[in-house]
């Protein structure tokens, strides 16, 4: 294991970092990667006994820029409401790590990486990866950074699944887990929506069985995938409040197929903006990893067994209008943790914003996470 950071100029630490860890890196599928690229960022400093490390895990289309300006979009970090100076996850107190997941397209090994065997991009030759593989890649990064045991892992959506999987796979390395708007498995409905997205990408002729050129991606397919997925991140209540049946830049129906309704225009914009920052093949691989996720599967479907004997503390948070990973899935996790005798906290917070609530202004969420993290120190 590498030594703890002591020098401010240690190039392992800071914003927009990248590292290539030597392989072979074994995957759950039985395949291996010759080496492991990881794009990541760190905030704050590791304390003397390396006890203040917090790993933040991003969602399906997130990245390592959790609390810094995104280098491509210029937007604030995706969880800067929770992570940053004076926030519950605070660089003044915590050594914060956020890494692009394995399979991603923001500096970590994925289908857009170069296959050393061919010298070309992997594309669909990239092995299918799992949430557990992503966790092991994060663990390899933490080894490189000199972090043994994490004070906490905090994640929302897919990031919450990574956090839960950490507690199952590497229980001795994580003292507490915060899982927000998440689940311990992908439901049939979750898989169904992902399959719509994948088929939209694959139906785009530009996809070319994954072998598209970097400057000619299947933008139309990926945009449709994003549009369908984006609906699942909102709520009917939220859509109605924001758009209703209002028309976009017109006073009357146009009897055509332009984006006449505001909601159509909004979704098209979401789709177009997404293709600027995300790779279609990465979308296929990461959604596949999510669909494979089921923490109870190796335990005869009994989720409590996955957490048996755990010493990790858990805080599980859901939102009333989230129908992608609804409260029922969080309660299933909480029931299993109770049955396992784990120290678990759970709260369902009111929000009209659907699944996206965890990324928006949520003072109660911040209050709960702040108290939970402070109690663990």
């Amino acid at each position: 294991m590498a030594t703890a950071p002591s020098l401010a100029h240690d190039t392992r630490f800071g914003l927009d970092r990248g590292v290539t860890l030597p392989g072979p890196f074994a995957l759950e599928s039985g395949q291996t990667l010759a080496a492991l690229d990881i794009g990541y960022e760190t905030y704050g400093a590791l304390n003397a006994d390396a006890s203040n490390a917090v790993l933040v895990c991003h969602a399906l289309t997130g990245d390592q820029h959790v609390a810094s300006i995104h280098p491509r979009t210029g937007k604030p970090g995706w969880w800067s409401r929770l992570v940053g100076d004076g926030k519950p996850v605070d660089p003044a107190r915590h050594f914060i790590v956020c890494a692009n997941v394995l399979g991603g397209c923001s500096g970590s090994s994925g289908p857009g990486s170069i296959d050393p065997a061919t010298g070309d991009r992997y594309a669909m030759a990239f092995p299918v990866i799992t949430i557990r593989d992503m966790v092991r890649a994060q663990a390899a990064l933490l080894d490189h950074l000199g972090v043994g045991v994490l004070q906490a892992i905090v994640g929302g959506s897919m990031g919450g699944m990574l956090a839960l999987d950490w507690a199952v796979a590497l229980p001795d390395r994580v003292r507490s887990v915060v899982g927000v708007a998440t689940a311990a498995r992908h439901s049939a409905q979750n898989i169904a929506f992902h399959e719509v997205g994948r088929q939209a990408i694959m139906a785009d002729p530009a996809w070319a069985a994954g072998a598209y050129a970097a400057d000619a991606p299947p933008s139309a397919g990926l945009a449709v995938a994003r549009m369908a997925a984006h609906i699942t991140y909102l709520s009917e209540e939220g859509l109605t409040a924001k758009f209703g049946r209002r028309l976009q830049n017109r006073a009357a129906l146009g009897f055509g197929f332009d984006a006449e309704f505001q909601v159509e225009s909004y979704l098209r914009h979401q789709g177009l903006a997404f293709v600027e920052r995300f790779d279609a093949n990465s979308y296929l691989y990461i959604t596949r990893a999510l669909d494979y996720f089921d923490l109870a599967a190796p335990h005869d479907g009994v989720l409590a067994k996955a957490f048996a004997g755990t010493k990790t503390r858990f805080a599980i948070i859901s939102f009333t209008s989230d129908w992608l990973y609804p409260t029922a899935e969080s309660k299933r996790v909480v029931r299993a943790l109770n049955a396992a005798g784990a120290a678990v906290s759970f709260v369902e917070l009111e929000s009209p914003h659907g699944h996206d609530a965890f990324l928006l202004d949520a003072p109660e969420m911040n209050r709960v996470i702040d108290g939970f993290l402070r109690a663990g120190t």
Partner: protein
């Protein structure tokens, strides 16, 4: 920190270092007190998201849930002591909940307002109105209390459920009082139950 008299009576029944589940723990005041003064392993359940948020912010392990529905999640003998403080009378199925308490914990401490108190009786008998008293401060149409009972009712139900009363403490005017004529003179009762 000073606890309300009924909470202090509940706290006195909890041994140091016990594994404790407080059902209807509110904002966690009692649990935090027990954690800080008796080093208990403190867990809680409360139905209100705001209460849970406050309790978790105190560093407690508390889940949002409903005692009527969610006690079944806990394995048998998971706790040394279950606490049901001023909550029994708001349960849909109090007898079932009492049974569940003594399944998941070896002992239970249960406190409730005594509906047999003379002021309650007087309000009904003489005033002809549902009582509004210091321990029952909310009017009949707004109260969460749907299953009120007297001290004698509780003793009888505990007997019918096969539960042993190990200890009983009574309060009136915010202070402890003796067991004499408790069904008439106690405003609140705190019972420690065990399996027979």
């Amino acid at each position: 920190m000073t606890l309300r008299a009924d909470l202090a009576a509940v706290a006195d029944a909890v041994p140091s270092g016990a594994r404790v589940l407080d059902i209807g723990c509110g904002d966690g005041a009692l649990l935090a007190y027990l954690r800080d003064t008796k080093a208990v392993d403190a867990r809680g359940i409360d139905v209100s998201a705001a209460n849970v948020a406050s309790a978790v912010a105190r560093g407690l392990s508390v889940v949002q849930g409903d005692a009527d529905a969610d006690l079944a999640d806990y394995p048998a003998d998971a706790f040394d002591m279950a606490i049901l403080s001023d909550t029994l009378q708001a349960m849909r199925a109090p007898a079932t909940v009492l049974g569940e308490l003594l399944r998941i914990a070896r002992r239970a401490v249960v406190s409730f307002p005594n509906f047999g108190h003379w002021r309650v009786r007087a309000s009904l008998a003489l005033g002809g109105r549902m009582p509004v008293t210091p321990t029952l401060p909310v009017s009949w149409h707004e109260t969460a209390n749907i299953h009120l009972c007297t001290v004698d009712d509780f003793r009888a139900t505990a007997g019918e459920l096969g539960l042993r009363i190990e200890q009983a403490t009574f309060l009136g005017n915010g202070v402890r009082r003796g067991p004499g004529l408790a069904n008439l003179l106690a405003e609140q009762a705190v019972f420690v139950l065990a399996r027979r």
